[in-house]
Amino acid sequence: MTPDELSELAAGYALGALEGDARARFEALVRARDAEALRALRQYEESLARLAAEHPETPPASVKAALLARIAATPRGAASMPDGAISMTRPRPRRSVWTVVLAGALAAGIAAIAVGLTVSARYERRLEALGQEAAELRTQVQREQSLLAILRDPATQMVALSGQATSPEARARMLWHEKAGGLLVAAGLPPAPAGKAYQLWAIAGTRPPVSAGVFAVDAQGAASLRVPPLAGVARVDVFAVTLEPAGGRPAPSGPMVLVGKS
């Protein structure tokens, strides 16, 4: 690929105008942390952010109120996780429709009290919050069902990870299935310092560690991370967690926090 071709892909991607093969090609470069691709993308994205900043528009206060209500109604353990993670500290029972309704009503109630909206606005918000809660819970149920399927499969590996020098109190368990991915649940971890995040690695044989994702820790020191199937990774011999710059790194560079052999 010539530099111009790379720049053209980056420009199209930053504008959201790539599709199909072109998009897949550029996303592969980003995943591989190709320095030139990232540099071009960063420049174009910054320019577009500057362009957008030329036309700010103040949103109505109701959007903020709805967001704060949604945050208040969502357990922090679930909200602090990257997408795809679930909370470990509160294993959730399968929810009935009525639980969904209750959770939504609670969110809407908090919203209304928080901002003292008019009665009609309150009902609008309530409906909106209900809809959102229901959608979230549906997603959650799907995730939990996929986890149950992993647990039932005899091919699933279960690996215990123990805390290393920096955090001897930390403990974690990793469930791993080569086709379905896996789940890490950890406890006793200190919150990552500013600008840092925990990163999970899968190591098979003598091959270099493969990143299995980045995660944060809740106020109780607990965390969980749902890991999708990893390309080219089947049976894993070692799982390890290191402390890395926020966003993660292509290869481990920071101190090892947890490690376990299968």
């Binding site: 199209g12 105008a17 320019s47 500057r50 036309h55 600008g195 966003g247």
Partner: protein, 190 residues
């Protein structure tokens, strides 16, 4: 490295705090950045209700995915704007698919292109209000390619078909346009 203004690095600190579950930091980040995101979303989605919905989703993602923000990869502003763009364009495309939009939501002034706008002073005034600032300083075809994608949600292939130009030409215009924008903003800073 990304241009790191003092404002951006303060915002990066807020995002790091949001990743640790700091609601106050989230509120402050929302207060200082919601109008930036909403301005873009409103340009993509004319429908106010949909725009508000998308804004809420974008900041919900901020709350949930703040740990994934990497200051080495860019400013929080760019991180936010890219999320806003993706969500707004997804919404626009799904509305188009479902035929929920009466008129093509793509701004017709954008779609007509710079060459055909003629000398009509009313249209010219509209043009100014549409793109005051950096975009206006771009050569017409580059500006048009950027607007059709960034505000109109069209893909490169759709833009090429719409303009009757080869795909390669559209790609080049996008690249040159974004490079020109970058130079303009850089000159601005100097």
């Amino acid at each position: 490295m990304a241009a790191s203004t003092p404002a951006s690095s303060a915002a990066a600190d807020l995002v790091a705090r949001i990743a640790r579950g700091d609601r106050q930091a989230f509120e402050r980040f929302y207060d200082s950045h919601a109008s930036l995101a909403f301005g873009l979303i409103r340009r993509v989605l004319r429908d106010r209700e949909s725009a508000e919905e998308v804004l809420q989703e974008v900041f919900w993602q901020v709350w949930q995915d703040a740990a994934g923000f990497d200051p080495a990869r860019g400013t929080p502003e760019a991180w936010l704007i890219m999320r806003a763009k993706t969500r707004a364009i997804d919404k626009l495309r799904s509305m188009r698919r479902r035929g929920q939009t009466f008129v093509a939501p793509l701004d017709e002034r954008v779609a007509r292109g710079p060459e055909t706008r003629g000398d009509d002073p009313a249209l010219a005034a509209e043009d100014r209000s549409l793109a005051q600032g950096a975009l206006e300083q771009l050569p017409g075809p580059q500006r048009q390619a950027i607007e059709l994608a960034f505000y109109g949600g069209l893909t490169q292939a759709e833009i090429a078909a719409r303009l009757g130009e080869p795909l390669g030409t559209v790609k080049t215009r996008m690249r040159l346009g974004l490079e020109r924008l970058r130079a303009l903003f850089k000159a601005d800073e100097a």
